[in-house]
């Protein structure tokens, strides 16, 4: 129906990204103000189970496409079907989780639908029938309130910014199967395969992040193996430091982050970088180990709920943001903290 609120459910290889469910609580709040039904969109291959799950999380109706062309995400077929359906049914709002896939499908869908896009939104309100979206800009150094004058209003929601509703398995809704808009020979990009897909908790989804900085390379008690030059020895030391950081992260079921300085020095791959030119994270607990707190790092983690800083330098700027601080050597404190949590969490 015209005026409905749609939620795009992001999935990877048949499993819904949990941030998709967060969008249903945002949809519910919008529905209270704007009315309409909540409609879930699930595109994939063998994903009828996800369509049913969407009902449990709050969809009144689910439009699902079950087709091999959707087995791997490519923006073109996803956006084409999204736009085709939206032209037919005229929703007022389409919400997406800001995953890599959600952002792209939304961006291209907005082009096809000749409408605006508000990406990476952290709060929504409705004033006089218009949705006002709060978005961090300049990596959260500022906030902007933005709105879109055309329908559908395409909005992607920052992960972990909206509550995840409890699923209700007793809920029922209508599942409607739809057909793809493009056939395989109309799609230029082919997915060959995946690599490095095993690695742990993803930074942007993590409830706990433990990060290391340049300080990870400064353990005076370590003697690097013979035959390394100065740079190699420094990286070797840093690897030992990051091992400690990872052990703490593992005990807390968290992800490992890093400062730009540590990434640029070659201590840890770029995927781990938190900051303005890395990832922006909003965990419940952020533990910064040997990170001084350059403004570009703070921009990536300042909205974490509880921040803990461990640093030798009592004047390090990171302490200003920290609920708890320890002025000390991370090589003493971090292993002791890992041990303390092991006892308390029974691991």
């Amino acid at each position: 129906m015209a005026g409905d609120i749609w939620v795009y459910v992001d999935q990877f290889r048949g499993e819904a990204h949990p941030a998709s469910w967060e969008a249903f609580s945002a949809a519910k709040n919008l529905q209270n103000e704007l009315g309409g039904e909540i409609v879930g969109l699930v595109f994939g291959d063998q994903i009828k189970g996800i369509a049913e799950e969407a009902v449990h999380y709050g969809a009144d109706t689910v439009l699902y496409a079950d087709n091999p062309t959707f087995a791997d995400f490519r923006p073109e077929p996803y956006a084409a079907l999204l736009a085709k359906l939206a032209r037919e049914k005229q929703p007022a709002v389409i919400l997406f989780p800001t995953t890599t896939r959600g952002r792209e499908a939304a961006a291209m869908g907005a082009v096809d639908l000749k409408t605006g896009i508000l990406p990476d939104v952290v709060a929504l309100e409705v004033t006089e029938g218009t949705v006002l979206a709060t978005r961090p800009v300049y990596a959260g150094k500022l906030l902007s309130k933005a709105k879109c004058a055309t329908n559908p209003q395409i909005i992607t929601l920052r992960i972990r910014s909206f509550a995840k509703p409890e699923p209700d398995t007793a809920r029922s809704g209508e599942l409607i199967e739809v057909e793809p808009a493009l056939s395989e020979d109309e799609i230029a990009t082919k997915v060959v395969d995946y690599s490095d897909t095993e690695g742990g908790v993803s930074l942007t989804d993590a409830g706990v992040v433990v990060s290391g900085g340049r300080g990870t390379a400064n353990n005076p008690r370590l003697n690097p193996p013979e035959g390394l030059d100065d740079k190699e020895a420094e990286i070797w030391r840093a690897h030992q430091g990051f091992k400690m950081v990872s052990e703490l992260a593992d005990v807390l079921n968290g992800a490992v982050g890093a400062s730009r300085a540590a990434v640029d020095a070659g201590y840890i791959p770029y995927e781990h970088q938190v900051g303005q030119t890395g990832k922006v994270v909003t965990p419940d607990l952020y533990i910064a180990c040997g990170i001084s707190g350059a403004i570009q790092h703070l921009a990536g983690m300042r909205t974490s709920k509880v921040i803990v800083a461990i640093n030798k330098d009592p004047d390090a700027p990171i302490f200003k943001l920290a609920r708890y601080g320890v002025v000390g050597d991370l090589f003493d404190i971090v292993p002791a903290l890992t041990e303390a949590f092991r006892e308390r969490l029974g691991k």
Binding site: P119, S144, D196, R323, G325, R344
Partner: protein
């Protein structure tokens, strides 16, 4: 290969950006080439070094955006074009994409249009996908490695960085790509490059030159504000041994109920 790189000029990452009297200010912090776009310029230069061709850098903005273009020229780009027109003052992403798509068409016979992952001011991260859509070219975003460029077959392979790891794809050219940091550290401008860039004549294209009539912007941002002050009580945990400190800290964190 004929490559276009779309770049933006932004305040430096170290800038303290605040809203004062409703206007965004960053004090005397310099305006720089968007850091993500530096990787896109680097990618273009490496591709051209390997496969031949030339790199055209395009930016949309006021006269001051020429600095970002000069930096790109100093790194080794062949030519730069500034798109400037009073008609594109409050452009949203869709307007920007319309203008950039028209500019890429005007450059002509482009094999690859490269973008950074996002601009560090607006943090939208959608311009590459939207430009691709308007051109009707495939979009391959968040690319960390490019391989098997085949100019005759007009194809290449790329590795993308996604939440779950790396996705390996092949696509046809022309294509639009956005790159991430793993693609390679951007080079510093050479002395000769800086001299060449300082003398370069950067043409300015208007909307009329592009023969494009972008849509009215539908997104507006009526309010810009400083984030609310966070009231944080700092508590320094101390003790006689690392174990004692760790025990106290672990107890405090358990009390916060964040685990």
């Amino acid at each position: 290969m004929k490559i276009v790189v779309c770049v933006k000029q932004v305040p430096d990452t170290a800038a303290k950006v605040v809203v004062a009297n409703g206007e965004v200010t960053w004090g005397d912090a310099p305006l720089v080439l968007n850091p993500w776009d530096e990787y896109a310029v680097e990618t273009a230069l490496q591709l051209v070094e390997e496969h031949g061709g030339d790199v055209t850098v395009i930016s949309m903005g006021g006269e001051d955006a020429k600095e970002a273009l000069k930096h790109s020229l100093a790194m080794g780009s062949s030519q730069a074009i500034l798109i400037s027109d009073p008609g594109i003052k409050s452009a949203d992403s869709l307007v920007t994409a319309h203008v950039l798509a028209a500019a890429i068409q005007k450059v002509g016979e482009v094999d690859l249009a490269l973008f950074g992952k996002q601009a560090i001011d607006g943090d939208l991260g959608v311009t590459s996908s939207q430009t691709a859509r308007l051109l009707g070219w495939p979009a391959v975003t968040l690319v960390s490695t490019i391989s098997e460029v085949n100019e005759a077959a007009k194809s290449l392979k790329a590795q993308r960085s996604i939440e779950e790891g790396r996705q390996n794809v092949s696509t046809s050219l022309p294509a639009v790509m956005s790159v991430v940091k793993d693609i390679g550290e951007p080079r510093y401008p050479s002395f000769m490059g800086i001299r060449k860039a300082s003398r370069a004549d950067i043409p300015i294209w208007s909307l009329a030159d592009l023969d494009v009539d972008p849509p009215e912007p539908s997104v507006s941002w009526p309010q810009l504000m400083n984030p609310p002050e966070r009231k944080i009580t700092n508590e320094i945990i101390s003790g006689d041994s690392p174990q004692e400190i760790a025990e106290k800290l672990a107890d405090k964190i358990m009390e916060e109920k964040v685990l």
